[in-house]
Symmetry: D2
Subunit: 297 residues, 4 copies
């Protein structure tokens, strides 16, 4: 893809590593982790930690500069396990800045979230590659074409869903996809599909969950006469609209707004809420625990 | 009650009348109503109208200066019915600015909404009289005392509720109360009670309804891991937390916030959301239709 | 231009007329205007009025259904002047829904506002035609090409400005442009240019004016250590960043945000603030008076 | 003071210590500080750090549980200096949870911020003692009396300012005041006064600074026709309204709002913005550097 316009690429050239950690809370965790980084000549760029005081769980995100760091990726895994991780019963994920995530976008017929994502992509707002768009309709193929991104039409009916999902899974494998964004994809994914990408499928739902789950939330909001409408981005789990919430926002409405107005105003919400959630994910800033998210700063 | 501090009384000295109207939508309504005001030498101060295009209902609020107006209150009622109201099948309410509403406050043990209301009252922010505070606890009597407002302790148990509600109703009658504010009053009113004050009991619920109705909404919000919490002010109807919504607002929260933090942040929301709802009511800016509110500007 | 995706066109098929009025405040204005509409068999769709109590100016927007209305456009102008307008010393503008405004977009090198506008345009969110994009750079030509919109490159230097502005004016004339949107167009227009399009040039400035006018507002905001950043859409007048404000919004920021973060977060603000302002303008909802805007509901 | 109503005291009984640190950025700071806490058997409760990448300054707030911690307060100071502070050229502040800050409130004639603060104080929302209220007017003495807080009337004129400020300073000394809140205190403090309490005087200004500094910001906002109004809480420095900003927020307004409406709506903003700033200060969450604030989470 060619880049259009003045680059506003915020990605530093930094060669960094990120560790996402959680474990039972205990004295000395931060000291041990930071000592590990320091002893191997890493310079901490960001550190954020959180303790769930009720469940006594410790969460941490640490990012350090690898310039001068004395361990390779594999060595980090091994050394960290031995000297820190095993001692505290940690579960951790390790990421490197040179590994750009590959993202697939699933759409149906509405274009607003897709355009929003692609416009951000084009100016390099996120560290991501978007090699493929998958849809159950042909409508948005011209948008994909304009941005030079592959578009696959995988129509879904009640009868062919499981077969078509296998087709989708093959495409995702073929394109080496790390994260899937449902940009107003109006199909419900099966448990089989979801289980392949735990905490890797980001959906945008057009209400402030848990209010108005399911279909036609703007109509329900109108009927109830609410004074705010919202949008919710969450990871997909097999239960519909019940996954861990990543981001939410709302906008004020009044009796003067028709359902059509709510739909229109909602589009602006959906775009920004989804974009913020994608950003958190791509920056490795999210840890999921107990169906809730920790969003590191 | 003596007034403390610099008066910031915004109430104009205007001698005005307000008509709240709704009827089936039809050509000529606005022309007829405004002609009525004009022909009797009224000067329109505000006019706001709304059409529910789906249900074909017309709503209107019109306020005019009565200086020089040629009709008395009773004459308005009669003349308006004959020359305008009956023609369009209108239902209407007529208010005069000299009629200051009398408001009762029901509280339990939490003081934040009560203080907020009384601080506004003391500087004359609203056109209202507050002669009485009623509570099922003694805790907030000192607050009432400080502001020189009568305080009645009417303890409620499962067994005495209906008797105690009669006692409350007698007090409301005695104090000639027009509107009741439940300022974090933790009791559920019976249908019998509610039916005495239709669209005259304003509650503050500590969630963005319809999410988290009932008890302990902040705990539920925490459990669900939402990223916004809200507050909702609504008129009370016999169904719990299901009445027409007057005002809502939200605040952003994160994983770092404990339930205690949500309670604390929620207090600030509850205060302003309730205060805005009270203001709309006192200014005769609310029409209820089909369990939804029209809030005139 | 072909329409992509499911049409969400909110534009009703209504054949309506809009009157924007202002005049000295006086008794009987609303009655006279609404009687005029009613007597010629118009059905009022919206009516909003405002009185500047300090300056005694009356403002009104009235929109009515022309189906069955007994006057043609020219007749309205003549009749309204004779029976209402002259009597109250009114200044008014008359618009018809069949007249779709023609909008030109001026851009420099940043694409975010342009994409946002074109994505809305493509789904028919606004009643508008966008026949031309004008830029002092070539960068965004591919975007225009993708959407099938003419793109004219009119490079500006200190020396050629007045000549190039004449070229721009000729283009605007040729394309029969009614309204100009400066979608992060980084050039200052001369008084000569601005005077051709009074209250018809909409700019987006990337700060909450009057704070941080001029160049590099995000840098200034960062330097001052503000906790909110904003965006302002306003009509252009010869004085830089001093025109009547149409819409503003803000987003919270913190010490953790670099200037680059402010730029990124600001883009999302700029898009929605500009889009809202454009919508108000296209819906004929703005009256300018004394360098302030009345935005009708 | 007696506590009214159900206690909502969020203060933990934790016996904790807080260190606020800043120094030139360098490898190993976090590891050293956390090792210091760990080696003396402290359990970290919160840790937040920030690096100003431009100026290469490192900022940190660390709070640990002192139960079982092996150093006394004086020993911490000494040991930390020797083993950590001196090595990195740190400047630091050390606080203990048992030291409840003592706060004075300065007011003039408006009561809204004062009531808001005292209502929070009464339910124990903040870890603070408020022994004294100082005013240049007598108006709010009754409020102080109601809450049982000493009230000192120190009238200020152009001629007696320096003498009266000395009187105020004596009172502050007498009451052992740690932090001063200007809760709509309409006097400008002299440089002499301010220099006694650097980063210890919190003001609320009724605009979104740097817009509309000085007097009558709501009038200026109205004149300029802005669509948002704001409030700013900041530390006082000798330059008027130019101190480091702690917190800001805004509310949307429209052409329908009079200056009186802005004043009324602004009161609600001022209350919450000031309250949030006070909370940050009392929780030792603020570091000032280069006239900007770092607000730790």
């Amino acid at each position: 893809m060619t880049t259009i316009g003045e680059s506003e690429m915020q990605q530093s050239e930094t060669n960094s590593a990120v560790l996402l950690i959680h474990c039972p809370d205990k004295r000395g965790i931060v000291a041990s982790v930071t000592a590990f980084v320091y002893e191997h000549h890493g310079n901490i760029l960001y550190l954020d930690q959180h303790v769930d005081a009720e469940k006594h769980i410790f969460f941490m995100r640490i990012e350090w500069d690898r310039d001068g760091f004395t361990l390779t990726g594999d060595q980090i895994t091994e050394e960290f396990h031995q000297s820190v991780g095993s001692k505290f019963g940690m579960r951790w994920q390790l990421y490197f800045s040179y590994q750009t995530p590959r993202m697939a976008i699933f759409v149906s017929r509405r274009s607003h979230c897709l355009y929003d994502i692609l416009a951000r992509y084009e100016i390099g707002e996120w560290p991501v590659q978007i090699p493929v768009i998958i849809s159950n309709h042909q409508d948005l193929r011209p948008v994909a074409d304009r941005f030079g991104i592959d578009y696959h039409h995988v129509p879904i009916t009640r009868d062919n869903k499981s077969r078509q999902e296998r087709k989708q899974l093959n495409l995702l494998k073929e394109y080496e996809i790390d994260v899937i964004v449902l940009a107003r994809y109006m199909q419900i994914l099966t448990k089989q599909f979801v289980d392949y990408y735990p905490e890797k499928i980001i959906n945008i739902h057009h209400s402030f969950l848990p209010a108005f789950p399911g279909a036609r939330p703007y109509h329900s909001a109108y009927e109830r006469g609410v004074k705010v409408i919202g949008a919710t981005s969450h990871y997909v789990i097999p239960d519909l609209d019940a996954g861990p919430i990543i981001e939410q926002d709302v906008v004020h409405v009044s009796h003067t707004h028709t359902v059509g107005d709510l739909v229109r105003m909602g589009r602006d919400l959906e775009k920004v809420v989804l974009a913020r959630a994608i950003r958190y994910h791509l920056q490795r800033k999210i840890l999921v625990y107990d169906n809730r998210t920790v969003i590191f700063s």
